[in-house]
């Protein structure tokens, strides 16, 4: 269209004016953009730099290698086993189904596993390795490694996992490790970050738990660069941690194995202790269990079987079990009376088979009574009435004080779980616990280790060692940490009169070595290794007057869990004591028949350093003993299965 020159001029002027306005607006916008740029990249730069680093850098912990647990001679008790596993990544595999199908032809994969694997693969990013098979046998593992070229994305991996080669022998002492639970974290005020590593394991019970800090070591860490989905791009820096320290126990694994096998399927406990140093040489609770089951994650079926077993395999009866000590307690009553000066070794009492006190009648185990007995005979024949008499004179508070001096009613601090204090009752205790006054009948019951008195096999072993040496020996379980021996101070003398101790020891000698002694059949024939001790049979039920009139029902006639506990404590050699032993067989019947032979075998095993020769046993028993020992030999772990690592030898 034609336009006049005037129009054209007018048009251009108007457009230019508007253009300048628009240009001005654009300049203003540019100023805003520039200012914003400056604000972000200059003024807020530090904050954003930090955020960019946080995006980029991840810290990963490197779990430390757990310290080993070894016996006193360096035999491996708890070690770290190579764990062979196979992982795969979705992106590496490409055709996941085809690779899995090829893999299942090489290694066993259950349908359950298959579900888990496909689920995990779907859920995770394509580069996250998924565990296809764990704890593979070496054969299966090497098959996968050999076929690696045909299995894209599949990686055979070697890790470490806890292993207990001695299976049930140390199940109670050493315990086991397991995955960290919420409870474990809650218990610790400032949990080590390493505990948050998935699949990290910590000690749950026993030495594994109570020496956790020593065994664990400290984690190393690495700084890695990751991308937006967390894929590791490269490692920037690596700081190695320190492995956990090795722990040497005082226990001799071979003795432990022997004792565990000797206890067999009984519900029983046996403690062997060095009377000079307090070192625990054996500490067996039967039946045991396989701690390796817990490391792998125990199945509900296995766990129920352990929980429902009336012999309580999970309990550590040596330190958790609190039993009425029965007649093994008589040494305490006797020593209390001797120290108080109320009796001498030659003091006699007449035993008519019972005493009457008020309207109650307290029986001796022997219906007809023992007649006149002195101290030595009262122990040898385990006369109850003798102790009823002297206990009334001494009073419970002095007996309790003596019990505590000998290690009863106090908690011995060892790295084991649920260690019981037992009960050493006195007047104040009953007032506090039951709100009742102490009665003389309570003293009479306590004098023979019944009533309120409760002690663990460990406490009974300590008591025996203290009587044997006259020193306040303290039990110990750890011999060395990280190769450095744990200091063991010389035990302080108890301060008991040597005459009194000698009289009690004489009585304990006669228990085994006098014809009329209750454990005469469990004597040691070897004259250099004379055995002294005391039997105990503790009731777990009340015998009514009516039953007593009919005749007490014998243990054979009772259901298992109503039978008496069989106990025995002892030490050897009599003239120069080296080891003390205590045995409790739950519902075993009589201490002399059931517990004493176990104690003799255990102490002979320690003294000989091997399966005891038949010459140690009385001639008339050797035939039967030989059969028994041969049967036992079958059940022992073959020596040499646990080869100690050369560097771990301890002096």
């Amino acid at each position: 269209m034609r336009r006049t020159a005037k129009d054209t001029e007018e048009s251009a002027r108007r457009i230019n004016r508007r253009a300048l306005l628009m240009g001005g607006a654009m300049v203003a916008m540019f100023a805003v953009l520039g200012a914003r740029m400056r604000y972000l990249s200059v003024e807020q730069a530090d904050e954003f730099k930090l955020l960019a680093e946080e995006n980029r850098i991840n810290m990963r912990l490197i779990p430390p290698e757990r310290g080993l647990i070894l016996d006193r001679n360096g035999a491996l008790v708890a070690g770290n086993e190579q764990n062979y596993s196979v992982t795969m990544t979705r992106e590496g595999a490409g055709d996941v189904d085809a690779v899995l199908a090829r893999l299942t032809r090489l290694i066993p994969v259950t349908a359950e596993d298959m579900d888990r694997i496909t689920r995990d693969l779907d859920r995770n990013s394509p580069f996250v390795p998924i565990v296809v098979a764990d704890r593979l046998a070496w054969d299966d593992f090497s098959k996968v490694a050999l076929n690696a070229p045909t299995l894209p994305g599949v990686t055979p991996e070697v890790g470490l996992s806890r292993h207990y080669p001695l299976v049930e022998d140390f199940s109670h002492v050493v315990g086991y490790v397991g995955p960290v639970s919420e409870k474990d974290l809650a218990e610790r005020p400032d949990p080590d970050p390493v505990l948050r590593i998935p699949e990290f394991q910590i000690g749950k019970i026993g030495v594994e738990r109570w020496m956790e800090d020593t065994l664990r070591g400290t984690a190393g860490n690495k700084r890695i660069e990751v991308n937006h989905v967390g894929r590791v791009m490269r490692e920037l820096e690596r700081i190695d941690g320190t492995p956990g320290q090795d722990v040497h126990l005082t226990i001799d694994a071979d003795v432990q194995n022997f004792v565990q096998a000797r206890l067999g399927t009984e519900s029983a406990a046996c403690v062997v202790i060095d009377v000079e140093t307090g070192e625990i040489i054996a500490c067996a609770s039967a039946p045991g269990f396989d701690p390796n089951l817990f490391v792998r994650g125990i199945t509900q079926r296995d766990y129920s079987a352990l929980m429902e077993n009336d012999h309580r395999p999970l309990a550590n009866k040596t330190v958790q079990g609190a039993y009425p000590p029965g007649s093994t307690f008589k040494m305490v009553t006797a020593l209390a009376a001797l120290e108080a000066g109320l009796i001498t070794p030659s003091t006699t009492h007449s035993c008519p088979g019972y005493i009457e006190f008020g309207d109650r009648r307290f029986h001796c185990w022997k219906r007809g009574g023992h007649g006149r007995v002195d101290l030595a005979r009262s122990l040898a024949e385990s006369c109850d009435v003798y102790y009823y008499e002297i206990a009334q004179k001494v009073g419970i508070d002095k007996i309790a004080e003596m019990g505590r001096r000998l290690g009863l009613g106090i908690r011995h601090d060892l790295p084991m779980s649920a260690i019981t204090e037992g009960i050493m009752p006195d007047k104040a205790w009953k007032q506090e616990r039951w709100g009742q006054d102490w009665r003389i009948g309570d003293t009479i019951n306590a004098s023979i280790g019944q009533g309120y008195v409760l002690a663990s096999p460990l406490q009974l072993a300590v008591m025996t060692a203290r009587i044997a040496t006259g020193r306040a020996i303290v039990p110990r379980l750890v011999r060395a940490i990280g190769g450095r021996p744990v200091e063991m101070p010389q035990a302080e003398p108890l301060g008991l009169s040597s005459d009194g101790l000698a009289a009690v020891r004489q009585g304990m000698f006669e228990v085994l070595n006098a014809q009329r002694g209750t454990a005469y059949s469990s004597r040691i024939a070897d004259e250099t290794l004379v055995f002294a001790g005391k039997t105990g049979t503790s009731q777990v039920r009340n015998i009514t007057a009516a039953e007593r009139a009919r005749g007490v029902v014998s243990n054979d006639q009772l259901p298992w869990n109503r039978r008496d506990h069989a106990l025995f404590v002892g030490y050897a050699p009599y003239d120069k004591p080296r080891y003390a032993v205590s045995v409790v067989v739950e519902h075993g019947g009589g201490g002399s028949a059931v517990a004493a032979p176990v104690a003799r075998d255990a102490i002979l095993r320690v003294l000989h350093g091997d399966i005891p020769p038949l010459t140690s046993y009385p001639a008339n028993q050797r035939g039967r003993i030989e059969t028994d020992l041969n049967a036992l030999r079958e059940r022992l772990r073959l020596s040499g299965t646990a080869t100690p690592p050369a560097t771990e030898q301890q002096g």
């Binding site: 336009r3 457009i15 306005l21 628009m22 953009l33 400056r38 995006n55 990751v226 991308n227 791009m233």
Partner: protein, 379 residues
């Protein structure tokens, strides 16, 4: 003076046109595009083949196209305006029926090897038609309601077609680009004031209808607005893009982390790092200095466009240059505002830097038209 009055003889002919091109503008466009190649190379981790090379090839093709368009007399393009606009509308309708679904919307047309985004084309052809319209219209009638209604319809038609794709970002840019031509043509400011008031009312109603069955926007569009208003509320979800973009820009600091040293982009924390969010990598690796330099280059491009427009005495050429320059400005202003957390994420590329064919070609077509107007200006 209309184009008929200046003779062909006053306009450079043949190869001498090359001498009369607006060379500073050509150099600036190549410079900005080169910055883009550099960053695409860096984002790919030092690899040409991923993004930089295809982008360079497209740019080369586009550059040839730009020169070809520049050599064709501007009056030819004025005569083509109506046809070009009609074709664009047809393509926009075609995209509605045969379009490829991407990013939750139909935006592309696949024609053999070429992928066309007609909404980008609309930005140019609409400006052409509007400029031609105002060139034809008696300037005294410019602000009369009837003569205002016609260009409004020209703007609304493609905008409506783009909105239903749905592509909010491009439709808003079409509206603003068209308005810019009308403003430059001298339409009374009262119309603009009235529209501004209406927009304010509309925004209010957009938010008040939210959650009702007759809500104005898609849910994802509402969410983008929410995210824009408070990105840190959901840093791993919808706010992730903005948060990570700000981290990348901010962590560059004054001088940047250095070429190929940007951790945000190299480790993939940045979304759309090679397309809409390419500016964040520039900021991360070259810092404030690098980012500000790009802003200066863009400013110079606009400056040369405007001086060219003011020097020109042809009404169509003037309006065309201003309209296309305004369009170019809208691209970069919206993109930078979005990337720096000043506007919602609307999916607008950064001109000459973002990886992508359609936008690159359309931009070079626009600059071809600007050059043509410059070469064939009345002297």
């Amino acid at each position: 003076m209309s184009f008929l009055e200046y003779r062909v003889k006053t306009v450079p002919g043949g190869l001498s046109k090359v001498l009369h091109l607006n060379w500073p503008l050509v150099v600036l466009v190549i410079a900005v595009a080169s910055v883009g190649f550099l960053i695409l190379y860096s984002i790919a981790g030092g690899d040409m083949a991923t993004w930089a090379e295809p982008q360079m090839k497209r740019f080369a093709v586009g550059l040839v196209m730009m020169f070809a368009i520049a050599f064709v007399p501007i009056w030819f393009w004025r005569n083509m305006a109506g046809l070009a606009f009609a074709v664009t509308i047809l393509l926009l309708l075609a995209v509605e029926f045969f379009g490829v679904v991407g990013m939750g919307a139909q935006r592309w047309l696949d024609i053999g090897p070429i992928r066309i985004q007609p909404s980008e084309l609309a930005k140019v052809t609409m400006v052409m038609l509007l400029a031609a319209y105002y060139d034809w219209l008696d300037i005294k009638k410019v602000s009369r309601p009837l003569w205002v209604l016609i260009p409004v319809l020209v703007i609304v038609l493609p905008t409506a077609l783009v909105v239903i794709q749905p592509n909010l970002g491009t439709s808003l840019m079409l509206l603003m680009g068209g308005a810019a031509v009308m403003f430059a043509a001298g339409v009374s400011v009262w119309y603009f004031a009235a529209v501004a008031a209406m927009v304010a009312g509309l925004v209010a109603s957009v938010f008040t209808t939210r959650g009702t069955p007759w809500q104005f926007l898609h849910d994802y569009q509402y969410r983008r607005i929410d995210t824009f208003l408070d990105p840190s509320a959901d840093p791993l979800g919808a706010g992730y893009n903005i948060m990570q973009a700000k981290i990348a820009l901010g962590s560059g600091g004054w001088g940047g982390k250095g070429f190929m040293q940007g951790t945000q982009s190299r480790l993939n924390f940045l979304p759309e790092k090679h397309t809409d969010f390419i500016f964040t990598t520039l900021g991360e690796e070259f810092g404030f200095v690098g980012a500000f330099s790009l802003l200066v280059l863009y400013g110079l491009i606009l400056f040369f466009c405007f001086t060219s427009a003011i020097q020109n005495k042809d009404r169509f050429s003037q309006l065309l240059i201003i309209g296309l320059a305004a369009n170019f400005f809208l691209y970069l202003a919206v993109n930078l505002s979005m990337v720096m957390g000043m506007a919602p994420v609307v999916g607008v590329p950064l001109p000459f830097l973002s990886y992508g064919g359609s936008v690159m070609l359309v931009l070079l077509i626009a600059f071809g038209l600007i050059q043509s107007a410059h070469v064939h200006r009345p002297r």
